[in-house]
């Protein structure tokens, strides 16, 4: 509390008190602008070009200013332009469970036609999304699903299980099918991460080819570079027999690769997972990482935009078997659990990584 008494409290003259109040008010105003500037940056709405009648589609990613998200949103913008919707991007600067709720409320008040969301938490956003749908909005979940009752369809990168399996396959090949491995995930309640992790666990338990592999632990780097870096360090010091790390998140795998490339463990500990080619290129070339996987994130955003349009104009309702055309990407079909699959995962190695730029 003494921090508040730094100036000469009792003898403060009226003039100085006024000055203090003014300065305080200025500071508060500055804080407010700071927040506002942060909260709605990279807003890519096309500035009223539609003349007011264009339908609106809003993308609400897990977190703004995330390189992976930017590629996804780039695709979303392309799709939205193609269908003639006015698009905007809003979202929090940190990937926490509750931070998306206020953005959903605002979109509802604005009467947005289609809300495309990647949920940081499947349930936390539920009530807000329900209100949005009651107000007439169509809700498309993409990248990371909400609980099914809160959205119309879910656009999934790939078949979730394929993503899990490809990472295990890459790991098993490199460690010769035997040894301790660990998982470096994002946040502890990220839907997509947890889905892949449980698929990996199920596969490890049921597939005899993997019976020599022992998953020792899962740690969470919260999609933060520094935290993921130190979690990697911690894994290696806590589990001296560790053979490999699977990191199904782009931030995690890059941070882990950075640590491995600068430590004694380079080349001794296998690292696979999901990464962006541009972030991983240096580590593939210096031998820290042999292979990793991902899908084309831009297609994810694009398909989500087309799915939103198809819902809005009634082409699909989310029922299994519904079909719609996603521009150049061709016809997509709604599968079980209102899920639309974009395509198969891609594996990146030193041989093909230079063909990709995202």
């Amino acid at each position: 509390m003494k921090l508040f008494h730094s100036s000469t409290g009792k003898r403060l003259s009226t003039g100085r008190r006024v000055a203090s109040v003014a300065a305080l008010a200025t500071t508060v105003a500055l804080i407010a602008t700071g927040c506002a500037g942060g909260g709605s940056s990279s807003d890519s709405s096309s500035g009223g070009s539609g003349g007011g009648d264009a339908k609106t589609i809003a993308f609400l990613p897990k977190q703004l200013n995330n390189p992976y998200t930017d590629v996804v949103l780039g695709g979303g913008k392309k799709g939205a332009d193609a269908i003639g919707y006015t698009s905007s991007v809003v979202g929090p600067l940190e990937a926490s469970a509750s931070s998306q709720v206020t953005f959903i409320n605002t979109l509802t008040q604005q009467g947005t036609n289609v809300i495309v969301i990647a949920a940081n938490d499947p349930d936390a956003v539920g009530p807000a999304l329900q209100e949005a749908r009651d107000a007439g909005a169509k809700v498309v979940a993409f990248d990371s699903d909400t609980a099914p009752q809160y959205r119309d369809v879910f656009v999934s990168q790939v078949v979730s299980k394929d993503v899990a399996l490809i990472q295990l396959k890459q790991m098993s090949e490199q460690i010769g099918g035997v040894g301790d491995i660990a998982i470096l995930s994002a946040t502890a309640n990220a839907t997509n991460q947890n889905g892949w992790i449980s698929d990996m666990k199920a596969e490890l338990a049921s597939n005899p080819a993997y019976k020599g592999i022992n998953l020792v632990t899962t740690v969470y780097g919260d999609d933060d570079d520094t935290k993921s870096f130190q979690e990697t360090q911690g894994l290696i010091s806590a589990y001296p027999n560790l053979k490999g790390i699977i990191s199904p998140t782009t931030v995690g795998i890059a941070a882990a690769a950075r640590y491995l490339s600068t430590s004694d463990s380079k080349g001794k500990i296998v690292l696979t997972g999901l990464g962006l080619p541009n972030e991983m290129r240096a580590f593939v070339k210096d031998g820290t990482v042999k292979e990793f996987a991902l899908w084309d994130p831009a297609q994810l955003g694009e398909v989500a935009a087309y799915a939103g349009q198809a819902l809005e104009d009634g082409t699909i309702t989310g029922a299994e078997g519904d079909k719609f055309t996603a521009g150049d990407l061709g016809e997509k079909t709604v599968g079980a659990d209102q899920t639309i699959i974009v395509g198969p995962p891609t594996e990146f190695t030193a041989d093909n990584i230079d063909q990709y730029d995202f």
Partner: protein
Amino acid sequence: MTLSTKPNPAGAGAPARSGAAATDRNASAFSTFVRAREIPVASALVVLVVITAVINSQFLNPQGVKDLLLNATILIIMAAGQSLVIITRNVDLSVGSVLGLVAFGTGSLFNAFPNIPIVVVFLIGMVFGAVLGGINGLLVTAAKVPALVITLGTLYIFRGVLNAWAGGTQYFAGDRPVSFSDLSTETVIGFPIITLIAVFVVVAVAIFMHAVRSGRDLYAIGSDPDAALLFGIPVSRRVLYAFVANGVLTGLAGVLYASRFNSVGATTGDGLELNVVAAAVVGGVAIAGGSGTVYGAAIGALLLTTITSALTAVRVDKFWQQAIVGLLILASIIVDRVASIRRARKLRVSEARDV
């Protein structure tokens, strides 16, 4: 006559009643030593490292030691800077955002001028930090609003500017010269180069605080700003310089961050300010100002980062780790409070006797 010849704490407890002058001097030197706020922290650090090394023999292998030092380096530099500000009874909460701006600036510099000399990058980073620290210092001293509020404001402003500047752009270690990254991987007699930089910074600042008049002034200002003003100390100027010096050190930390970690972008350094303040407080720098040392803050930083690594190495759940760090902060504040109450009581007793 050395401290180790007087291990009996009972002697330290009763220096005032002792008759012999020589014993008195010894005892008071010893009691100063035991009462020093840094001692409990340093002891905790040693105990922690020893216990962890016994449980997990990997903890102190060469790579493990290197990681411990590297993890602490950036926090040590920032805690040293922060302690300058806290000692004047202020605080700078914007340091996480300042670090982010400088780190991203470093990435941008190497991106725009791939052949720029590394020394120039360090200089630009520190000047950039000094400017941002200067903004804080000017606002605090000119507006006479508590630093807590001002720097909370600049925390968001600087972060907002960084978000607008960086957007989704990130610069990666691969974009920077290898010799720059090498600073945080190569070692000289077992110490990583950037850790040696941190040690140099702490020693330099500690000497300044101990031996230079304007350094002593900072303690006087923190103890009683009104008295310091009456005494003729240029309070505003000193406080401003403390903020600028903190900015310079945070700028240095920002450049080193870009050397150490893979990516720099909009979220770099987010939330770091609380770790920095915690390190200073745990290291015995009183949050109310006027006391504490730079090397105490540095030890606090080392303890906080080491405890995280140690708890991970013995496989303690991550969520407990945060609780333990919180306990440490409370414990150090309680120790500090108890010490000052005892000191006050002792002063009252001796004054009463003199009457």
